[in-house]
């Protein structure tokens, strides 16, 4: 037992020991942001070049995980910035009183206007059904057409996955009171509902299903990183639901100045130019070099759907109950 203990202590020490000479800015974010393939490493290097600080990006699960972690820690949190919530979570986060107003004005290249005093956007995307054009000949151009097609799809559970929740809100925004009818029609098309995006996308790549719920930027990944031109996102006439990813300053942060300068950096070219080919989303500010061709948007700006943050959480619970009821039949 004694050796075990000393081993544990040694382990502890190796993790805890860290010299502190520069001010530390702690940013809670989601896991894929900090991974070696995500924007994290590039963002950290670019920001630390000028800030004279130590930027610590800490992954705490997914978007919903960031908020629940912040609530768990309450006022005791070490986080100065949270990065990675979306508009389905912002109203709830603002209501918790844990977010401080950012006081920054910016102009954004997005199909919608932005005026949230607590959160600033850093990237956005459209949800879409992705298919392989060598395998799917008749591509549906609406939910109605998808329903009458013979295609099989895989989606994610809204309770455990961001795209899953996005689809729920998408059908809600496009069909409102008629949403239940759409879900009834979609139900036989749905092969299965996975916990997260990874399983669903993996199943699609393995050829298990014809289409997967993902983003219009998923084909951009295959084009740029794999030179694979076969993956396409189906454009739907009803319009496409947006995901806007945002960041905010934590109330009571011990580095408010640094936090604010990080948010300013976030909407500058240094950060924005990293986003497209690491997070595979659209930047909110056009990078100086322009966007790669593979990021051409398949959806016109007037087809963008987004339920405002303050209405989203109210609609969500009823829509989820309906979704469960219809798909459980």
């Amino acid at each position: 037992m004694k050796t075990t203990l000393s081993f544990a202590v040694a382990l502890l020490g190796s993790v805890a020991a860290h010299a502190q000479d520069k001010p530390e800015l702690i940013v809670y974010t989601y896991d894929s942001f900090v991974s070696d393939w995500g924007p994290g490493p590039g963002v950290e290097a670019a920001f630390e070049e000028n800030c004279g600080c130590d930027l610590k990006l800490i992954a705490v699960g997914d978007g919903a995980g960031i908020l629940s972690r912040l609530k768990l820690e309450g006022g005791r949190t070490d986080a100065d910035v949270v990065l990675g919530l979306d508009t389905n979570l912002t109203a709830d986060a603002a209501a918790s009183g844990l977010i401080a107003p950012h006081g920054i004005t910016g102009a954004f290249d997005m199909p919608i206007a932005w005026d949230d005093p607590n959160f600033l956007p850093y990237d956005w995307g459209y949800f879409a059904f992705v298919y392989d054009e060598t395998k799917v000949a008749d591509v549906p151009s609406s939910f109605e057409e998808l329903i009458t097609s013979d295609l099989e799809i895989v989606i994610q559970d809204p309770r455990s996955s961001t795209p899953g929740l996005g689809l729920l809100m998408w059908v809600e925004a496009a069909y409102g009171a008629d949403a239940a009818r759409i879900w009834e029609g979609l139900s036989p098309k749905i092969a299965t509902v996975t916990k997260g995006w990874d399983e669903a996308y993996g199943m699609f790549l393995e050829g298990e299903v014809d289409m997967v719920l993902s983003y219009t930027t998923s084909p951009s990944y295959h084009i740029i990183a794999e030179e694979d031109l076969s993956k396409k996102a189906a454009a739907f006439d009803e319009g496409h639901y947006m995901q806007v990813e945002v960041a905010g300053m934590v109330e009571g942060s011990d580095q408010p100045e640094l936090a604010k300068s990080f948010l300013e950096f976030m909407i500058s070219d240094g950060f924005q130019s990293i986003i497209p080919t690491t997070n595979w989303m659209y930047p909110v500010v056009q990078p100086e070099g322009g966007l790669p061709d593979a990021f051409a948007k398949p959806v016109a700006d007037d087809k963008a759907l987004l339920i405002p943050a303050n209405e989203a959480s109210g609609i969500r619970d009823a829509a989820l109950a309906e979704w469960i009821r219809v798909l459980s039949k």
């Binding site: 070696d36 705490v60 309770r159 916990k195 595979w280 979704w323």
Partner: protein, 502 residues
Amino acid sequence: MLACLALLVFGSLIAVISRADWPIALGPGDWAAVRFTLLQSVISALLSVVLAIPVARALSRRQFFGRGFLMVALGAPFILPVIVAVFGLLAIWGRSGLFSDVLGLVGLGRVDIYGFPGVVLAHVFFNLPLATRLILQGWVSIPAEHFRLSAQLGFSAWDEFRCLEIPMLRQVIPGALVLVFILCMTSFATVLALGGGPKATSVELAIYAALRFDFDLGRAAVLALVQVILSGGAAILLLSAGRPVDLGQGLGGARRVWRQGGRGIDSFVICTAALFLLMPMGAIVLRGVGGLVGILDVRLMEALWMSLQITALSTLLAVGGAIGIASLAARSSRGWLIEVTSTMVLVVSPFVLGTGLFIIINPWLDPFAMALPVTAVVNAALSLPFCVRVLVPALQQVERNYGRLGTSLGLSGWDRTRLMLWPALRRPLGFATGLSAALSMGDLGVIALFAPVDGATLPLLMYRLMGAYQMDAAAGVALVLVAVSFGLFAAFDRGGQLGRHL
């Protein structure tokens, strides 16, 4: 040790409830989840254990080329990370899987496993091997002399089954059922991936949603409590029914099959089980080999090192704790009650466990700094019940058979351990250590929920690759993970059997 476990389980439950908003209410959806989970777990557990009986029997009777390999390979499905196993299963049973292709060749439609059958199929895949190993231990514990005697007395196969094997099964099966039932109760990603829709749901999902989606700590804790009560109830019911049976004593020689016949059936059973278990494994290996090229870098080595550190610590804790608890349980007349308590830790949702520990630790220490030791402790707690289950029957038997002799010879302390306990225990101990090490390697749950550290463990690296569209590389990491887990398991499991001929 037991008190520590109880503290871990109930402490985290209480911690979560302490932060809840009152009143706490469960919705109709939650009860639907409880009903489906219960049904699914009962069917999965019964099927896994019932199917494991002929497999274990055949394996106990036959010696054949590759038996050793098969025995170790049996441990593999159980230690696979869920997501890897799901893709392995889909490669065989999915819409574009091998089985569908074969059906297509003969002009039949594809199989559609999504839904209840898919969930049960996956759970049998995971748990049949574990059940087989547990039951096989029972068969091995029947003295070879009994089989010889029954052959001399002209017992029919049925007589032999009734007089020798049924009493052993009565002792072994309840414990196996309890473990598999509990594992199926807390299964989460499998149920979703193969369940086909929200009808196939689980209490774990409800807990996850309550914590992450609604931030309703009270509901999460109550759901976790419902899970504890259901599994605890099942455990008490089954374990109290399975009283220890005195199988008698032998010289510990190897089993010989005295009876002719039954060879065909045994071969069929072994081949079917091996195909069922090894085909998805083969698919995982094939899938991973292609991804190996791009991943052999320093990241992989760091993740491997991190995983090995956690595994070393948690295996040490788990096996040490299990020896203590098992020897207590083996000596006590209420041993099954001690076992039930040690099993409870499996039943409490890891989400609630992680959240509860976080609430407890956060005011005192930096949870991020504590991530590694906490992960190791929780991993140890999660693999401890398996170790206890494996060790208790062996300890009971050695005490029963040699305990009095040992005492009359004045064996105590180190000599008793070395001369009496060690020879009988090292085989189950090897199995338990291997199981524990492999389980810790493959675990992701706690580290991701509690406080992800700067570096990544192997499972975390795999998930990060998947999240970055790099499915091939992720399959490669999965293969490394499986190979290392499997290597650890095999090393300990075989190590326990070296030179066992007395």
